[in-house]
């Protein structure tokens, strides 16, 4: 029981102080569980980061579930996951009750005209940063360009086509290329 309680409190703390999404949290988690408490080995932690980034869902939730399970099984996973959600749930729930009134103040609504533009800058910057980190090869370039063109065309011509399909189509394309390569290798032998 003690481990579950410590997990709960630690993830509550981490949930309350991770501004700016999951990546800021990875460093905090490493400091807490690998260096200070020594509950997880460095290799296992790096493995966890790779899994949390490649599976769907927010990185914060994925890492909480994984670390919770590794340390204290199913109950630990539940304790860590619930704890990491509590701070943002509470804060956002309170904001949701007053947000409209807050925005109806003249100065606030003016400030938000500027902030809306800032969010577009933030998303562009995040996308460009990820673009820099990806390998430059023909497959990635084709996927990148076709998805951007298709999405913008859908916006311009007011056609609705869910992002879900882009993800599934591109994943399938990745699989298809992989099997084609395998097939070609098989034929060579």
């Amino acid at each position: 029981m003690r481990k579950e309680w410590t997990l709960f409190l630690t993830f509550l703390k981490i949930g309350a102080f991770t501004f700016g999404g999951g990546y800021a949290m990875i460093a905090l988690l490493e400091n807490e569980f690998v260096e200070r408490k020594k509950w997880i080995e460095k290799d296992d932690f790096l493995n966890m980061v790779a899994i949390a980034e490649s599976t769907p869902g927010p990185v914060a939730i994925n890492s909480a579930t994984y670390i919770g399970y590794k340390i204290a099984g199913l109950f630990g996973a539940a304790a860590a996951t619930v704890a990491v959600c509590i701070p943002s749930f509470t804060v956002i729930f309170c904001i949701s009750l007053f947000f409209d009134q807050f925005l109806s103040l003249t100065w606030v609504s003016r400030a938000f005209r500027g902030i809306q533009v800032c969010v577009i800058y933030l998303i562009s910057f995040a996308g460009l940063k990820m673009l820099k980190s990806i390998k430059r090869n023909a497959f990635n370039t084709v996927i990148l360009l076709s998805v951007i063109v298709a999405m913008l065309a859908c916006t311009v011509f007011a056609v609705s086509f869910s992002s879900v399909y882009y993800i599934l189509i591109c994943g399938t394309a990745g699989l298809a290329i992989f099997f084609l390569k395998k097939l070609r290798k098989g034929n060579d032998n």
């Binding site: 869902g57 500027g114 533009v117 562009s124 913008l152 007011a158 394309a173 290329i177």
Partner: protein, 190 residues
């Protein structure tokens, strides 16, 4: 039945949003706008709130939309929906499929998803820019550029590059949000 709708929509976001951070922005945007839960401007406002408070965008969005559409119960169900897929998938990997990441097929699938997510973030940013800065919604509407917004956008990018040149690192999102708030009060106040 709003509760079921909230739960299922956010369940889908939780199950299909790859890439962390803004990886989920296009799916979340589509969901909340097509359901009429938020307008484009309200969506941008909320992202700023989410950036300035702790927690991932998808979870924050679920709590917020849940609360405004269905009170505390809606808020709880939407948040549960967005978290549940992660919880189940990670438990499966940690307990049963320990080597999932080593299967070549899984990596092949992800190798297609990765560039797709980046493209979706960029296309969302471009889409938001043409609708907010240029006032262009779709082919059926006229162009209505907003000079003040375009000016703010230019100032933010110039500040970004200036800051990066001096400090060697990008400015923090919160500082940029505060700066843009000041610009907004100044430009739209006069």
């Amino acid at each position: 039945m709003i509760y079921l709708k909230l739960f299922l929509n956010f369940l889908m976001i939780g199950a299909l949003s790859f890439g962390g951070g803004y990886g989920m922005v296009s799916l979340v945007r589509e969901t909340v706008i097509s359901n009429g839960w938020l307008t484009e401007n309200e969506f941008l406002n909320f992202i700023a709130v989410s950036e300035s408070t702790p927690g991932p965008l998808a979870v924050n969005m679920a709590t917020f939309i849940g609360s405004t559409q269905g009170g505390i119960l809606g808020s709880f169900l939407a948040t549960l929906g967005v978290v549940l897929p992660s919880f189940i998938i990670i438990l499966l990997i940690a307990a049963v499929l320990k080597n999932l990441m080593k299967y070549a097929g899984v990596n092949a699938f992800l190798s297609g998803v990765r560039p797709c997510v980046i493209a979706m973030i960029l296309a969302t940013a471009i889409g938001m820019a043409i609708s907010t800065l240029l006032g262009f919604a779709n082919i059926h509407s006229a162009l209505a550029p907003d000079p003040k917004s375009i000016l703010v956008f230019a100032i933010l990018w110039l500040t970004h590059f200036g800051y990066k040149r001096i400090k060697k690192t990008a400015p923090s999102p919160i500082i940029m949000i505060l700066f843009s708030a000041a610009l907004g009060m100044l430009l739209w106040g006069v």
